[in-house]
Symmetry: C2
Subunit: 418 residues, 2 copies
């Protein structure tokens, strides 16, 4: 228990202790914070007061940075010690911070008074395609049933390079993209706003410590290179994507914006929720073979607020544990050819679709490529996103009365540029 109030259903109990970047009305400089309940705790202020001298060298310099990169570059022993130290500082039985009214006033802010920023300087962003259900569903719609799942899919975690520049933090509004798309099947493409704006329910891990070019990360070490996990909405303009993506993959259908949640939940906080993933058949090659559980039991929800309403409707309930390929397998595969990862690199899971129709992670799947309506509250329906629709992704773990969650990943689609 913390001396800072946390409601029983809060994503940010003392068992979480995520890291993020905030600024405040009286200090516009983005800096490192954690979150507990409905409060942000400014770690740069605590560091200035000397509270981290035992765990982080130059803590004040590290926590005054505008991104988590420097902190993440310090490595897992430092991340773990820091999180444990914060848990101690925030616990009800610890007087240091609890009884320092002045420090509390300067370091603890109601969450609705802070602005959150992109947590990392992302050097490279990669998106995987690791849900068998999603790959199969999309494959059927883009290429037909016979070519749905490509022969490589069960042998390796298929992934592709995404665009780092347009990764934005939860709350950012995005204009509907324009581009070339085929409006009438078989006819020439036309230019205009996307007519099939979609979301993708994903989670992504942030690389904490990387590897040198030419020196792969092995499967046994992979988890220790990961800093933490965020929710991710890989917005997708399906009509632009469908026209452009052969043969080199998605490009303008994706790179107009990708939204991540603001608070990075550490691998340490997620460890209690490790479970076995799906059975992999064929058995993965030796470099991808895991000896311990590596899937995470994280409940996920996709909520949509249509422009004409003030209510969010849940349109999908899924779980990260459905992913066929684990994060560790993704990271290992990514480096097996020598590719170098750097602190702050972002790796998306791919759309997290479950086995049932109400667990699909994209509107493309939920509306089956527009063949049927997605039912929202008050009789409103959608096939794809309309202008000014808003969307929230949510995720949380629960076990033995402990809850660790991700807050929300929120976005709004504005009308296309005129």
């Amino acid at each position: 228990m913390s001396f800072i109030e946390t409601k029983p259903d809060s994503d940010f109990s003392i068992h979480n202790i995520p890291f993020g970047i905030i600024s405040t009305p009286h200090n516009a400089a983005p800096r490192v914070a954690t979150r507990i309940g409905d409060y942000a705790v400014d770690l740069s202020v605590l560091a200035q007061a000397g509270l981290f001298s035992s765990v982080v060298a130059d803590a004040q310099g590290v926590f005054s940075q505008p991104t988590l990169n420097l902190f993440m570059s310090l490595g897992k022993p430092v991340w773990s010690a820091t999180r444990k130290h914060i848990q101690k500082l925030l616990s009800a039985s610890e007087a240091t911070l609890r009884d320092n009214k002045d420090l509390l006033e300067r370091a603890v802010f109601p969450i609705n008074t802070v602005k959150t920023h992109l947590p990392a300087n992302i050097g490279d962003y990669t998106d995987f395609y690791a849900s068998k259900e999603h790959a199969t569903n999309v494959g059927i719609m883009f290429r037909g049933k016979e070519n749905a799942l490509m022969p490589n899919w069960t042998h390796l975690p298929v992934g592709y390079h995404g665009r780092a520049s347009s990764v934005v933090v939860s709350g950012t509004e995005l204009k509907r993209p324009q581009g070339q798309r085929v409006v009438v099947k078989g006819e020439a493409p036309q230019f205009g706003p996307s007519l099939r704006m979609d979301c993708e329910l994903e989670m992504a891990f942030l690389v904490g410590t990387g590897n040198n070019l030419g020196e792969p990360i092995t499967i046994d070490n992979a988890k220790d290179h990961m800093f933490g996990v965020v929710l991710m909405n890989d917005w997708s303009a399906r009509d632009i994507q469908a026209w452009e993506y052969v043969p080199l993959g998605p490009f303008l259908g994706k790179n107009f914006g990708t939204t991540v949640s603001a608070w990075v939940v550490t691998m340490d906080a997620l460890e209690p929720f490790l479970v076995n993933g799906p059975v992999q058949d064929p058995k993965p090659m030796a470099y991808l073979a895991e000896s311990t559980a590596s899937a995470y039991d994280i409940n996920l929800e996709v909520k949509l607020k249509p422009a004409e309403s003030s209510k969010y409707s849940v349109i999908s309930r899924s779980n990260l544990k459905y992913m066929y390929w684990s994060f560790a397998q993704q990271l290992t595969h990514h480096t097996v050819n020598g590719c170098n990862m750097r602190t702050g690199d972002l790796c998306g899971s791919g759309t997290i679709s479950g086995p049932t129709e109400d667990s699909f992670g994209s509107m493309l799947e939920l509306s089956w490529s527009g063949a049927k309506d997605i039912q929202l509250e008050d009789g409103i329906t959608r096939k794809f996103l309309k202008d000014n629709d808003e969307m929230i992704l949510a995720g949380w773990c629960e076990k033995d009365g402990v809850r660790v969650g991700f807050g929300e990943c929120h976005g709004k689609i504005l009308p296309a540029r005129v």
Copy 2:
């Protein structure tokens, strides 16, 4: 003419004045330089002496950076004025630098005594696929004659996101990548070193000034956003690529390393060599329609030194003017959906294959997927690269006695990691 000796066939006449990053034995700090003939000129030293006070605010700060990013962010008027100013400083008729022995000694270094570094901090790297000949050749080999050129290809410059972390400067040695590949057609994939290591002859432009998310760069403004051009070798492991690339594009077959030349030749220096590109049929959509010449007449050569020899053989002669889609069209298309470009972003042209067999830009094409030998000097042959083979890409423009070139883009393939 410069007072610094430049041979008539030098790529780096006073008409060039490229920008790059150097360090020297007595000063390990990477900093901005230009090159003339066989000399590097340290711009940070000239700035310290006050020689740039009329053209760049805080020139000393700008030219002491370890990358060109800060300089590039200043915009085209500053780039142009700086280049002209350097031309004046280096001209035989100008006494300021010519007669300052002390300054010359501190600022001018024989090129073989300097170390060159990656010229930019590359936020995102995109690779296009803009040679019709290359796309057709590769299409035939990967998908058969009927599916060679996809229906979208003549409507838009197809491109995909590459990996920024593994872009390295000329001279860097790369280990042969390992990974999954199908060795016997129709059988299961095996793990091991790539058996089809290839090069791709490309050029790439560096984005000088970018655009905000949601605000496209128009075709008429595109050239002014580009800072300059480099040679690029997009090393490709064809067997890894062929197995992994469906449906989301190349990944581990490419991201183990991409080599760029050290000296960035500015768009200003290339302007005299603008020519009309291939006729585009169908006519590009309005947002891609150009009113002025936008192809560059740049001669290109691919040279290969097999491990068992000390001689380079020219294996291909091509020209950038063969590219179907111009750099301006590539940049415009890239942002038409609102995607934001940032200073330092790198955009590759795609493999530059010409119409004849001796102008193909990859060994995949030159050996027609391994069906025939590529003949080197002394009776040596190759289909793909063997361990310790070295490769040089070269490029230069020539017109009215003026030569502007790119130096070399050199790389060596080391044996795979054991």
